[in-house]
Each structure stands twice: as C-alpha cells, then as structure tokens.
Amino acid sequence: MRFLSTSPDQTRALGRAIAELARPGDVIVLAGDLGAGKTVLAQGLVHGLGVDEAVVSPTFTLVREYHGRLPVAHVDVYRLDHMQEVLDLALDEGPGAEGVTIVEWGDRVATALGPQRLDVSIERPDGVAPLEKASDDERVITLTPFGSAWAARLSTLSDLVDARVDVVVGEV
C-alpha cells in the first residue's frame, strides 16, 4: 500500500492513523534516507498512541520509552554496526512485549525483529517526478505487512485515512 504525502503534517497524520490500528506486541519498522521523515512519522505514531510529550530522537540513547494507550518503545539502530548489538537491546523483553516497538533504520536489521511486523519505507518521489518539479516536502510512503497480523488490518487503513478530514494523504 502506497501513499503520497505532500507535507510533514500529512506524514505525521498518516502516523496517527497507523497508530489507531496498533495492538500490543506490534513491531513497526521505519526505513528511509537521512531527512526522509522517519522522525516525523514516528512523532505521528507516538502521539497517535496517546503520548502527550515531545518525541525526542532516540539515536543517542538507542531506546526511548513512552506510556500512552499502550507502552511504546522508540528504537533507533542508526549507530549500531553489528547484529549482536541489536540482539543485546533485547527488544522482545522490553515494553515492546506488551506495547508497540517502533524501530528507525530497522530495515538493516529486519531479520532480528521477528516475522510479524509492518515495514514503512519513506522515499523522495525521484522516480515519479523530475527533481526540479518535485517539492522538497513530497514523500512516497510504502507500507508492507509481514505476517498475517498486519495484512488484515491494513485494509481498513485507507478508510481510516479517508474518513479523517485533517488527513489528505492520497493513495498513489
């Protein structure tokens, strides 16, 4: 499932919509280059899970934990160079077990994150429009479910996005 977002606010709104579908034990993997908007989408996810505080980058501390409708572990493996270091984080033992684990740069370590997960990739629409025509703020956001848990829920996401007046994310 692909969406075109034309602004950080829309990306944030898509994050909020995904958060409404989240259940305990979910793993959401964010992929995208530097400046793609992973932090922005994560802000939408965390705030959409009912957390009412600033979503500060987890790059330095590797993990930041929040408590909203569900416990949230916001993880960033940008600095990790070895798979063993990801395993050392023991993500399956933290709040993620009963809550939602959001992993930035997680595409590099996806195999350590289990078979049930939602991969979210954020890209600049280079293939869609020439550089001079594409806005700096436009992003193509692709959602790929792994395992049965997410596949069923994603079918309702379009309705959820369309039904909300403040979300103008269109499907590509």
């Binding site: 530097l34 400046g35 922005v40 600033a54 979503v55 500060v56 980058s57 790059t59 501390t61």
Partner: protein
C-alpha cells in the same frame, strides 16, 4: 575531607574518577584514554552494556591507582543513575553499590545532567551565580538557569534531535566520517558560513530547540546543488546551529539575570561555538566559562563532584535505588 569515587556509564564512555571534597580531582579516567582495546585483544563494541561490564573494573582500578589511594581510603561511591541507556546505566549503578557495600561507605546516585552543570566549577571554583548553562551533546540540548549551585531549572530543550546528533548525521551525509562534530568543525574553518542561508529553527520561540528540520534542509540543498562546495555547506550548517545555540544561551542569561554563561557537553568542544560564546559574553558584559574538552565530554569527575554536594544536602543515597533512563532535571 571527603574522598568520593565516581562512576559514569550512561552511554558510550566507561569512566571513573576520584575527587576530594567535590573540588580536587585526583584522577579522572575515561575508557578511550587507555589502551583497553589492546588489553582485551580486539575491538570492543563501545555501545553494548557488555562493554561497560568488561571495561569498568580496569577503569576503576586505574582511577584508584592514579589517585594514589586504595578502596579503604574512599568515603563514598557514586554512579550516574540517569538519564542514559538503561542497560549501560545499570552496569555503573550495580558496580557502585557493590563497591559501597564492600567498602561499607555510602552510595550516591547522580543525575548525569546535574553532573554537566557542576563540571565547570571543577576548573573554576569561584564562578558567579546566577549562571546560564548550555548543555549540548550528541544526546542532549538544553538551557538551564542556575540561581545557585543546587538551585536550577530547565528553561528549554530540544523537541527532536540533539545538536550533536545533527552534526553527526550531516557529517555522515556529507561523507566526512565519524565523529561528525570535529570533522565539520575542521572543514567549516575553511568555508564561508554565509554561503547558504539555512534556517535558524525555533530561534524566536522561547527556549526550546529543534534540529531535525535543519538536517533535512542540508539534504535538500545538496540535492538541488550537487556541485555545492562541501566546506561552504559545512560552515553554513555549523553557523546555523551555533546561531541558535548562542541566541538561546544569551536569552536564558537575560531571563535569569546571569553573571556567567557556561557550556557543557561534547559539542562544547566546537571551536566556532566557543568563539561565539566568548564574543556574546563580551558584548553583554558577562563572564563566559568554557571548560576544557575533557570536562565538557562525559567524565566521572563531574559525577563525583555532584555526589559530594548531594551527600552534604541529602545524606547517603538509597542502596535500593535503581537507574532511570528518562531521568530529568527539575523544572519545566
């Protein structure tokens, strides 16, 4: 005389120090200062808690030897108990408690950020308050008003990325390597800081910071201008960060009627930032205190110094106390 052994393991650095009466640093050992890689026969994964477990005993032993003291000469043991990485913090806290139990002396848990606030006093004990402090590193960016040594409030902090993180990520994007702060610092010295008008995020909004969008602005600029001189991009980016940092520090100093402006944290080693703070201090008739880079970056001397103040004000800490990855400074 009170001799305190301090331990710091909140993030990458494993550090131990011995400090007398919160002022006299007898030793301050940081893991990167001694040849531990060679000692352990290979590259140590710096950020795993396991590395702290392996490094801590030799680092503590080194700190005691350098201080010329034995364990029975120590009057209290302190550890940083937050904020930081949970597993990493627990290593230092557990070790400090175990040493305190064995030596039968008090244990004191210290807030890492409070340690940064007190680091400047180790080099210059007669600093005047009120003081405005900018703590800026890879993990933190905040301005703090210190009305007195033990009375402070956070005026504002980053709502997304820390400034040091922006330096690292922009440096990696520009292909300048790691660590990014020193790399950009060096290259920027040869570039034109006015070449590109990058945004000054949240400059006019009270005391909070935001650097995530600035990083994206650099990426956008380079995409549209692939031939841009990297040194000009580095200099212009650095100038944007420094403008915001210095602007907020001066605003904080105005707000708390500070006589002194202080910097702490790893980005405090940035030469442009240091120059601009000195200039701002001259312009506004204040004193600037820029601790040496060794005291700006993570170290255990600041933990031991802060522990001394906590011991005086609160007495011994609780051996049942744990670590808090999200520990905050009071205020806001």
């Amino acid at each position: 005389m009170t001799r305190i052994l301090g331990i710091e393991t909140s993030c990458d650095e494993t550090a131990a120090a011995v400090v007398d009466d919160g002022r006299e640093v007898l030793s301050s050992v940081v893991s990167s200062q001694i040849d531990l890689h060679a000692r352990f026969g290979g590259v140590v994964p710096e950020i795993a808690s396991r590395a702290h477990v392996e490094l801590l005993n030799p680092v503590v032993a080194e700190a005691l030897v350098e201080a010329g003291t034995e364990l029975d000469g120590i009057d209290a043991v302190a550890a940083c108990h937050g904020p930081g990485l949970a597993g990493a913090l627990l290593v230092g806290v557990s070790a400090a408690k175990a040493i305190a139990l064995v030596a039968d002396v008090p244990y004191i848990g210290v807030n890492h950020l409070e340690g940064h606030l007190h680091a400047a006093w180790l080099e210059q004990p007669d600093l005047q308050v009120p003081a405005a402090v900018l703590i800026v590193s890879g993990g933190h960016t905040m301005v703090v008003a210190m009305d007195d040594l033990d009375q402070y409030r956070v005026l504002g902090q980053t709502v997304d990325d820390a400034a040091g993180e922006a330096f690292d990520k922009v440096a990696r994007f520009l292909g300048l390597g790691y660590p990014g702060g020193p790399a950009i610092d060096r290259l920027a010295a040869t570039g034109d800081p006015t070449a590109i008008a990058f945004p000054r995020p949240m400059r006019d909004e009270a005391f909070d910071f935001s650097f995530s969008g600035l990083k994206t602005a650099v990426v956008n600029h380079v995409r549209h201008n692939p031939d841009a001189e990297v040194r000009d991009v580095a200099a212009s980016f650095q100038e944007a960060v420094v403008d915001v940092l210095v602007g907020k520090l001066v605003a904080a100093a105005d707000a708390c009627h500070a006589k002194t402006m202080i910097i702490g944290g790893g980005v405090g080693a940035n030469t442009r930032l240091r120059t601009r703070i000195l200039d701002a201090a001259t312009d506004t008739g204040r004193e600037a205190m820029l601790p040496s880079p060794a005291l700006c970056t993570d170290n255990a001397a600041m933990i031991a110094a802060t522990a001394y103040r906590r011991l005086l004000s609160d007495g011994p800490g609780d051996l049942g106390g744990g670590a808090d990855p999200n520990l905050r400074l009071p205020g806001r």
